[in-house]
């Protein structure tokens, strides 16, 4: 039997890729208007956290942590439905426009605050590979550097024994098996097990929490700001972000001429495509 593990999952709320709301005509996103969802990559990390909790001793704990505006509390409730024990959101206006460096810093402060509160450091931190809105895949690794945790990226399967994490990593052209000492930070690839549906008890529990008093709710969903986690505001938000986006522009017309052909028999679709696509006809001729 493994020892009891304290496991943290870092998650983010992102614009819902399936919702059409909030998409400006120029292709940019109005975040306030857009539908929101748990970053799909983080769903794999959550499942990894849930599985790791089962691998640990009976008093293992799973914490979900996010940083974002208050509506992001929704995704924390989602993790509770799936079996997280407690969650925390760092929400502060001074965090607006944080780049990956500032985000990693702020999240580290949050984690350290939680380690203190929970009486010990994490054994394992799981992150999604990247987010669908930032796509950098940097925040996880930056946090592991700051916390001085072993870093395992692109993990698509793992087991735990004797304070060691045995992970199967995707590398270019193949897979790599590594064993790493805990504590470790692991970024989970989207070839890992899909997030299972929430449990009945989890769904019931969250509805109870939502009806409970503010104090009771805070036991499961703690809302903190920069002051609470003793973060230096000069290292957060715009102030703490050395990344400068000097200009953004469209690389040609991306998707401008894209026409979806769907919902018909394959033969019909093919002939539709051929009818439209002069280039394709030329290509096939060659």
């Amino acid at each position: 039997m493994n020892k009891d593990l304290d496991i943290y999952v870092l998650i983010k709320q992102v614009p819902d890729t399936r919702s059409k709301a909030g998409v400006n005509p120029d292709g940019t996103i109005d975040r306030a208007k857009a539908g929101k969802m748990l970053n799909p990559f983080d769903a794999f990390a959550l499942q990894a956290g849930l599985n790791a909790k089962k691998m640990g001793g009976p008093n293992s704990r799973l914490f979900a942590v996010t940083m974002g505006p208050p509506p992001a509390i929704d995704i924390l409730y989602q993790t509770l439905e799936h079996g997280a024990d407690a969650t925390c959101i760092l929400s502060d206006r001074r965090l607006a426009a944080s780049d990956t460096l500032a985000t990693a810093y702020a999240l580290c402060r949050t984690l350290e605050y939680l380690f203190k509160k929970n009486g010990r450091k994490a054994d394992l931190i799981f992150c999604g590979l990247q987010t669908t809105d930032g796509d950098t895949a940097q925040v996880g690794p930056e946090i592991s550097e700051r916390l001085d945790f072993t870093q395992v990226t692109y993990c698509e399967d793992f087991s735990i024994s004797d304070n060691l994490l045995h992970a199967k990593k995707i590398i270019e052209g193949g897979t790599q098996l590594v064993s790493a000492e805990l504590p470790a930070l692991v970024t989970i690839a989207n070839s890992y097990t899909k997030l299972k549906f929430k449990s009945l008890r989890g769904a019931q529990f969250v509805q109870d929490v939502k009806r409970a008093s503010k104090e009771e709710q805070a036991k499961y969903v703690e809302i903190i700001d920069l002051d609470k986690c003793e973060a230096d505001e000069m290292r957060c938000g715009l102030n703490g972000s050395p990344t400068i986006v000097s200009k953004t522009w469209k690389i040609g017309v991306v998707g401008g001429n894209c026409k979806m052909h769907q919902g018909k028999a394959a033969s019909e679709l093919v002939s539709e495509v051929f009818k439209d696509a002069v280039m394709l006809k030329e290509f096939v001729k060659i």
């Binding site: 449990s199 009945l200 008890r201 769904a203 019931q204 769907q262």
Partner: protein, 588 residues
Amino acid sequence: MSNTKPRIEYDLVLVGASPSNLTLAHTILGLAEKNPEFKFSIAILEKAHDFGGHIVSGAVVHPSIFTKAFPDHIKDGMPIEAICKKSYVSLMAYHEKWDIPSILTRAAAADFVKEGYYILTLSNVVAWMAENLKAKAAQVSNVKLDLFPGFPAMEIIYEGDKVAGLRVDRTGNDEDDIVYSKLTCFGDKGFLSKDLIKKYDLETNPQIWSVGVKETWQLAEDSENIEGKVWHTLGYPTLDGTLGGGFIYGLKNRRVTIGLVISLDSSNPNIHPQKQLQEYKKHPWLQKMLKGAELMHYGAAVLPEGGYASLPKKFQVDGALILGDALGLLDVKALAGVDKAIESGYIAAKVAYEALKANDFSEAKLSKYQSSLMASPYMDKFKENRYFRKAFIENPELLRDYLPEVLSSIDQTKAPVLGGLKVGVQNPFKATKAFLRSASLLNNAKEIKEEVVYKPGYQHIDPNFNKVLMDRCHGGDDFAKTTVYSREDAVFYANTRYDEHPSHIDEFNSDTCLTCIKTYEAKSLDVPCVSDCTAEVHRLDISSGNIKVHAMSLENCVQCRTCELICPEQNLRVNPAYAGAGPDFKGL
């Protein structure tokens, strides 16, 4: 560890976020609000991922039931597609359509006069009911209301002879998987309540089911505006002697919903419901309507048609009530089930509230549900129309022989008169007898002497069915390809989504299928499950021994239960799927 957890328990558990159950919950919250000292809890289990996601209906519904059960429905923004401005009953021949003059409709088909009725997209209304309920529950703090979309009830749990709860989850740990209840209300269209009816031997006559297939279309910008127009049609394409009819409802924003309802007590082993719907759209009148239109949604569901004769002996047992379609409250003569489903929920709420207060959930205490429901004015028509189904069962020649004659005269002369005369001249004695007899049945004769035996659909299926009759269900070849979809392509518009390997349909015995396949192969027919599936699920594979075997592509299933009802060997059971998997009918 598990035995330290408390049981998952509610006072009231509702199976299905159906119109009936959501009305029940809404009404009982209203009662609880007036008595804040009295506390209780409700859980609603719904197999769809989101409320309304598994609801398929028409739906044209009289506003009065909403005024009664949801007096604030307008203020609270219930989505209404249109108010019916003009309704027609039409006979569909292959090429022509004859709208029965309204004076005749009023006399002969008064149930289909729908002017002033709401035209609804019921899936959207159900989603609204759920939202409305959440908002209301937040105001009524003495009631704990938990909603469980994505959690189907899989099995009824009994304690002694009493319904005690439901198996819902599948962790393998009873404490985590079973929801216990003092009173369980089934508004589940028979998915699970069929087991209850069987266990308590409640069946009087077997239920007669039909299947409804339906599509919603976005019409072209320059199309004729048909918002608020309602057509109910008889005839093409259901011309194999089976009872069936079409409906076309004009919705707002230039949309139209087009559907067919086909009875499953047909002798035809290959009804092909989805294909018949495509045939329907090949009619020149619909071709014109659908010029430049785009398909938005497709779906299917079954309807209980047996009516009064098929009502269970009791509507309640110890610890449980049965509501809506699960009880069989649909009046097929008027294609109206929503009003009675809502009424059943409204009445059940009062009975359940009394039972909760008395802490008595015995059948005796609950029996007021049955007596109050049967006394409801919403049941008057249902009772009156009780011989409608019988007329067609008893006089099969009406649809099989006479209707086609009448229709062919519509095609030739644009009026049904000659066809009617021809029927009378060719077979004066039989025709007159059948007409008189059916007329008396259709006109709700008080006395019915000969009893008509109801048989469940699958018992009607005849492998020797006349193929000439089958061929009648096909129209011409002059249609726009964009208006007609194959079954595999239609599934795309039902938005089915199954995460893992679905396994929600049980095939009990594969040898039974082998025999069945041989029987139908010998007659050059499809096996019924393959032909009549409304999505592309059942298929025949060639096994290694080069024999044909029954197989299923369950990821396409829209959970309509047609296959279960028509399998001649009763070799299938359609269960709800876990995790909210299945179609998404929102907007259909």
